[in-house]
Structures are given as structure tokens and as C-alpha cells.
Amino acid sequence: MSFSNKIDEWIKEAETRPESALTIVKLIAKRLRELTGRNEELLAENIALQNGTLVEEYQKRIAHLEYQLDLLKRRFGTDESVLTELPMDSTETSTLSLLVYNAQGRVLRIEINPDVQTLGRITDEMINDSEQPRLLAVQSNEEVLLLFTSGRVSTHALSSIPTVDSGGAWSWEGAALPDEPRAGELLACITPLSRLPLSDFFLQVSRRGCVKKTMTSVAQSILANHYLGKSALQKSDQPFDVTLCQKKDLFAFVTFEGHLIGLDVDGLSYSAEERIRLTSSDYVVGSFMTHSNESMLFVTQTGKVIHRESHSLELSKSPLAKGQALISASRLEQGIRFIGAASVRDEDQIAVLDATGSLNVYLTEAITGAGSIAAGGLILSIGVIQAEGGKRANP
């Protein structure tokens, strides 16, 4: 049946039942609106095809997919044909490791025993170049990304980093050095990379609260050139953390003086942008992705724990916000300062490194219930050990 015949039939309906005319007009108008939008998209795509930008975009996407495949192959340590045969629960064979790393690029990899509370002790000086050691719990079959303060990056399979005995005493000299920082640079952070194929962006935050996102579609170029950038506006500033995220995620960071900023990842800029107004003595000490089924945990130097539901996070819209204050001004004057923050569930564990070098593990439920962590000295750093063996997004 031709289209004009159809129109004749619609007209007949309108003539038979005049009240149908309005319905028909409404339905056609709605369709017209849809088609106009679709036509515009097609025209734009056509223009992009004609001037070649879309071809380039597709080439980039193909290269990105090839890289992701390569990454998966490396993660499973196998070739493509075997990869398709792999059972979905193949990661069950992996174990969980805790990385303790310092700014000099030294990494201690400790295999986590869930039944042991005291993991061991670092006998060396804990703070070098004014930077405290940091903690990260990851799967043993992970690929990790090392970000240096110069903006340089390098990737390493975790399996290439030797483990140290749990329960022992360790020195930084005996720690692995997967990639020695070059002259003038320090190791800023380590982040797991295996979720790269499922992520939309790298999200960086600097010590002074500058935030920048970079599309993971250009990951191959970043990793091939070993350069992600500093995400800093001022020369004195330096990167603090990088994490993988998706469009709909919510990102939060907390500062030394207890200011919390929540950001909607989708609304963030691709260029570095200062998102918090900091005093000269303040800087970022913790950052994390927050999820509705998790809560936020903030820890002070003295071990005081502040526990908040994730829905209490206020999203900051203005570029230079002050953020939510976690403690009152009087407490701040008393010298209370924060050392870390994380998004957690009750069943997770928290690894705590204190100034005496002791590394202990606590159940989140226990420390949120007690409201504090009983450490041997000032707390330097915390890390989350997820209950599911580190398989949740954004550990």
C-alpha cells in the first residue's frame, strides 16, 4: 500500500469520527519531531563521514578495542583462543594483595590473609620528601598504572612485583622498584587498570583540588606515550590520584583540613579545573568514587573515624566551592587533621598504616561502631580491602 493511500485512510477516519482527527495530528506531530531529530543526527554523521573525522574516530575506537583485548590477554596471561574458553569465574584463582608504596617508587606487596589483623611492620623512616606511604588493595592478577608527579605513567602486571612475607618486618630497601622515578619526579599514585575496557574516563585529582577527566578511548595513545598529564594548574601543584570511572559515577575528595567535595563525573571538564578553594596549608588527602550502596569513611591523624551515608554527599556545581566541612572550626583550631577517606561497605576491611610503621587490618563495621581506630601512633594512611576480594568497581 502506497503512503498516499495510507493518508487517504487516515483522512477517512477523521471524516468518520472527527474526534480522531486530533489524535492523528498529535501522533503524526510526535513522529515528525522524532524523525526531525533523527534526520539531524544522520546529517551530522554524514558531514562527519564526508570530512573524515568520523573515520578517524572509528579508527581510534578500533585501536582502543584492540588495546583492551591486549590488556585482557595480558591479565589472563593467555592468548585469544584460550580467552574465549575461559570460565567466567576464572578470577577466583587470584588472591588479594596489599600494596604499600612510597613517593620514591618503592612498593611492598603483601598477600592478605583475612584472618590476620597485624600484617607486619615497616622498620624504615615512614615519611620521605614530605610524602606519606600509601596503601592499595588489588587482585594478584591485576595490571596497575603508576602515575608520577611529572604526569608520566607506566603499566605493570602485579604478578611482576614480588611479594614479601606477611607478619614480618620490612624495609624500603627490600621493596620492589617497578619503575624508578626519574630526576625531579615522585611516584604520585598507583591505580588498578583492568577495568579500563569497562570505563569511560581516567579521572585525576591534584593535591590542590584540580580535577581533570580524560577519555579512556585514547588510552592506547596515553599508555604508548607513557604520559597522562599532571591535572594541575600551578607549577607547585602535583597529581594526587587517578582513577577509572564511568559517566554516571560520583566522585568525591577530602582535604587535610576536612573539606569534602562531591562531583558529578559527567559534568567535569576535560581540562584541569580547580574545584575547591583551599587555604595555603590545605591539600587533598583522599579521593574515591561513591556508590549508593556504600557509605563514606573519613579518618583523622589521631584515628577518629567519621562515617556518613553516601546520599549525604552534596554535589558541587560551582568551580570554586568551599566544600562540606567534616569538622567544626573549633576542632580544626585544636589541630584535628584528616589523612584519608574511602567509600566502604560494612563488611569491608580497612588497612591502617601508622607512624610506627605498623600495618593492621580492621573490620569497617567495628571501627565505625567504635568511632575510632586504636593505632600505635599517628595514622599515616588507610586502604580499603573489599569484602568481595577487590572485585567491586573503584577499589
Binding site: 485512510e9 477517512k12 477516519e13 469520527r17 492523528i24 501522533l27 513522529r31
Partner: protein, 447 residues
Amino acid sequence: MTFRVGIDFGTSNSGVAVYDGQRVKLLPIDPKNVLPEVVKTILYITRDYRCSIGQEAVETYYRDNVNRQRRYVKQWAGEIDVRGADMHYVRDIYVYVDELKPGRLLQYLKTALRKESYTGTHIFERYYTVGDLAKTYLSLLKHRAEGILGEPIHAVTLGRPVKFSESLEQDHKAEETLRQSAYEAGFKEVDFELEPVAAALDYEQSITKPQNVVIFDFGGGTLDIAVIRLGDPRNRKVYASGGVDIAGSDFDRAIIEKRMLPHFGYGRVKHHPEILEMIHAIPDWMALPELGTPINRNTLAKAIHAGMAPVQLKALEGLIFNDLAFTFYNRVEAGKIDLSSAGATIISLEDKNISLWELYTRHQFETDIQHYLIDVEKVVLDTITESGLEPAEINAVVKTGGSSNIPLFTEMLTRIFGAEKVKGSNTFSSVVAGLAIKAFNHSPLVE
């Protein structure tokens, strides 16, 4: 305590009810459905032979099937003896089987009962006869009803159309198959009541004096008509009954044939029998899912590559190879239902290269089903004639079943009997309510 229930085993929807002598209770047999008292007559059987019915079956089907992966393997199906004048050889026959297929969705189980040509189907390694399918559905229905009542059910009154089939032999066979299925489902006592008679009993609850009533039960599978004297329980009488194999599923088929096929290449593809065969199979809900073979995919791919109606054939490919047939039929049925209250509706399906949009008006629908109107009117008039009554002697015409809401048929009844006599009833529950009353009395309700 054991219960006696009424079960309306309908072509599209079913229901279960009990009567306590005072009031009828419709059981919320499908809590996931919009109307929990109505359960879709749909059965889903998984590869490991777990069965579900109603909305649960639909949800499981969608979850497991739509846009799933397929892997075809060639399986030996049998052999054919080829005999000629001076030769005889045996030829092996192979079929392509999708070994990743997670389950089979079956609907129109009641229609299958009356089809002489349809005796059953293979579901993975097992062969299910029509009776097995009905038994499986009824046993799940019984199990759910017992869960709600908290007591075992031992007896059932099942509804049946006036005519399962025009052929007396087939009609008898269909009833016996259904009876046997009910016994196998665990009912100790099984009896039947004509669906329009059951609907009449429900209507009788609302009248105070004797009336001559025409029951116009127009559902998903059949049209059943009965002319009954109601109002005095001791003096009920069926003057005449009639029926015809025309109902909702035929209207869906008419819409698909007349309006939907051009979206899948009809009229554009010529001289290509394999593709035309696929297009002509679209209205057949049993045939369409079977078309997803590698040979057909290859045929379509070649035609698309050659530029033969590529948009339409891509849509056909999407429909066949993404298990969208069920969604498609549902959209068509929803459009048809819309037209009972609106002058125009949209039948649309946007998925996997299908961009179907059809503005469909009541005028178009009535044109498409006009030939059915003639048949339906004839059956109504024949039944009235058989009853020995004149239309003027009829006090009320009670409509029940989803298709009875189609304005074209309401207008026909109004034309014959007068607007004041044509009355609506509860579309989905009047039959099952009457069956429950019959089950409670467990004796013939009418002469």
C-alpha cells in the same frame, strides 16, 4: 477441606475462581500481572524442563532470549526412502539446531487443541503432545491456586467453547484431550461447561426477573454465542448455542498481513521464493521462531548485500534472529486493543535494525476485518433463528471476552438488538465466575 474450582482455560488468558454459595472469589493467580486474577495462557519450558506460566513465563522468556547468542549445529533428523521405477536409495536428512536456545515459549495452547494438523512438538529432547502441554499448564495453575487457598483442589469445572471445531469428531477429541490433561494435572473430578453458559450464570447474579439473554463471548480463540433463559435458577434454559473459529488472534493476523508485512519486504521482494516464504511466515506465531537458521541468515545477508530492499530485509533479519517475534505480536495486539477506545494508535517496534512505525486507525482496522464481520453477524442471526426467538424477544445481550469490546461488533449487536439491550460485563472474569458457580453446585446448571 478440599476445593472445587472453576478454571477458564482461555486462548489468550486464563483464570481460576471459587464460589462459596454466597460470592465468587477470583484467585490472584498471577501476582506479577497487572490484573492478578488473570493469567496469560503462556507456557515457557526451559532446556532443563523447568516450566513457568503467565507473566513469569514472559519475563523469563525476555530475560533468556531477546538478543541472545545462537550457535547452530547440524543434527541428523532422519532419513527418506526415495523409490523410483528402477532405483531405491536412502537419503539422510539433517536439521540445524540452535544449541544455545534456552527454552521454548508456547502460547495459544487452546487453539492447538482444536487443530487437527497439530499433534505436538519437540521441546529439546522430549516430545510434548498437545495434551502434555495442556497438562503442564493446568498443573501449574492448580499448584498456584492451591498455594493461595492453602488446601488441595480435587475437582474442576473447565470452560469449553461451544465448538472447539466444526468437525464433531475433532470437537470431541479436543474435549477429551483437555479432560485427560486435567486428570493428569491432578484433578480427581473434571467436568465441563460451555463458556457462554458460564458467563450467563455470572450475569444472572445481577438480574431480578427472568430474561432471555444472548451471551456474546468473543475471546482470543473463538466466538461463542448462547441464547439462554435466565433469572429463575429452577427454570434455566439454553434455547440455542453457536460458535465460529473467529476471534482476537484472527484480527491480529489480519493486521499483520495487511499492515505489517510491507515493513519486512512484502511488495518489494519479488521472484525470491526463499525470502518470500520467510515474509509470509511472519503472521504465523508457530512458524516464525523456526526460521532462524544459518541458511536463512545467509539468504538474507546476500539479498541485503545485493541491495534488495535492504532496510526491510534488515528488519526481517532483526525480527527473526533476535527473538523479537513475541514482542512484535504483543505490539500488534496492544494496538488492536487501543482501537477499542481510541480512533487511532501507533504500532511500533524499534530494536535491532527494526524501525517499525505504523499509524493505524479504527477505520483501517474495520476495513481489514470487515469480512469477519459478515461471518460473525451470520452466526449471531443463525443462533437467534435456531433459538426460535425474535430479536425483539431478547431482553439483554451480554458481551464478554476481549474481542467483544471491538466497536465494530458492538455496533453490529446494537443494529440487531437495539443499543439499550447491549450490555458489557467483566471482560476477563465473567466466564470463570460462572464456572466457579457450576463447580460449587457440581450439577447441570441448565437443561
